[in-house]
Symmetry: C2
Subunit: 122 residues, 2 copies
Amino acid sequence: MIIEIDFNSDEAIYLQLRNQIIMGIATSQFQEGDSLPSVRQLAELVGINMHTVNKAYTVLKQEGFVKVDRRRGAVIAVDADRARTLTGLRKQLQLILAESSCRNISKEEIHELIEEIYEEYR
Amino acid sequence: MIIEIDFNSDEAIYLQLRNQIIMGIATSQFQEGDSLPSVRQLAELVGINMHTVNKAYTVLKQEGFVKVDRRRGAVIAVDADRARTLTGLRKQLQLILAESSCRNISKEEIHELIEEIYEEYR
DNA sequence: TGGCTGTTATAATATGGATATAACAACAGG
DNA sequence: CCTGTTGTTATATCCATATTATAACAGCCA
């Protein structure tokens, strides 16, 4: 999987890493049991510091997307805590839908956009 | 409209303000043409600094949710730039749907959740 | 043993959030 | 005209976080 960092983005590097890895899991570019590159390898690859990668991995571990094995590094292992996910999801969607509503984007357009995104990654 | 700040949140105060005001617009608690409290009044009300409120208002202005009139302060005036909104919306949804997908939340559940949120605020 | 892994510690730098104090120009109302 | 309010701007300080750097440690494997 190709990981690209936008150094001009206002989004923190470790969050860009986290987000791209989550997108990679969702689109099956990473599969359950796969190992991620070691913190030093990935840091070298994208040209950033080892600790920045480590921070991304630590967040992913705390959020239950990977488990860490000293031998194999960070391994994809998704903990599907539905309850916690759903409450967080609801909060995020509430804000997004509010912003969209203000901009005269209808509920139907939201549903269509979701269908489009699911179509896109398949 | 009641505005509440969670000082223990990891979310910046000015962003909490911004988000709550956007939610207020979406739920018609603020209507086109309404004036927001002055930066000094709102700062006093919620117990924060004037500049923090000013930052929230500045962001809302740049994002096209209010216009600023020296006489009337910050006035709700939504600029419905659909193109820009839709591209931003797509990016946000891509990540949210990816996270949900990892946690075994189906597309149908997302659609239902959106219906629920629309029902809730009506 | 040598080389890889994650982990931890410490420090330096930079950036951004929040606060404080202060001043300015524009305008409304008395 | 004067006073008070508005947003706006300019500094300055304090603190938290992001990023980098260097270094060391323990666990594991060939």
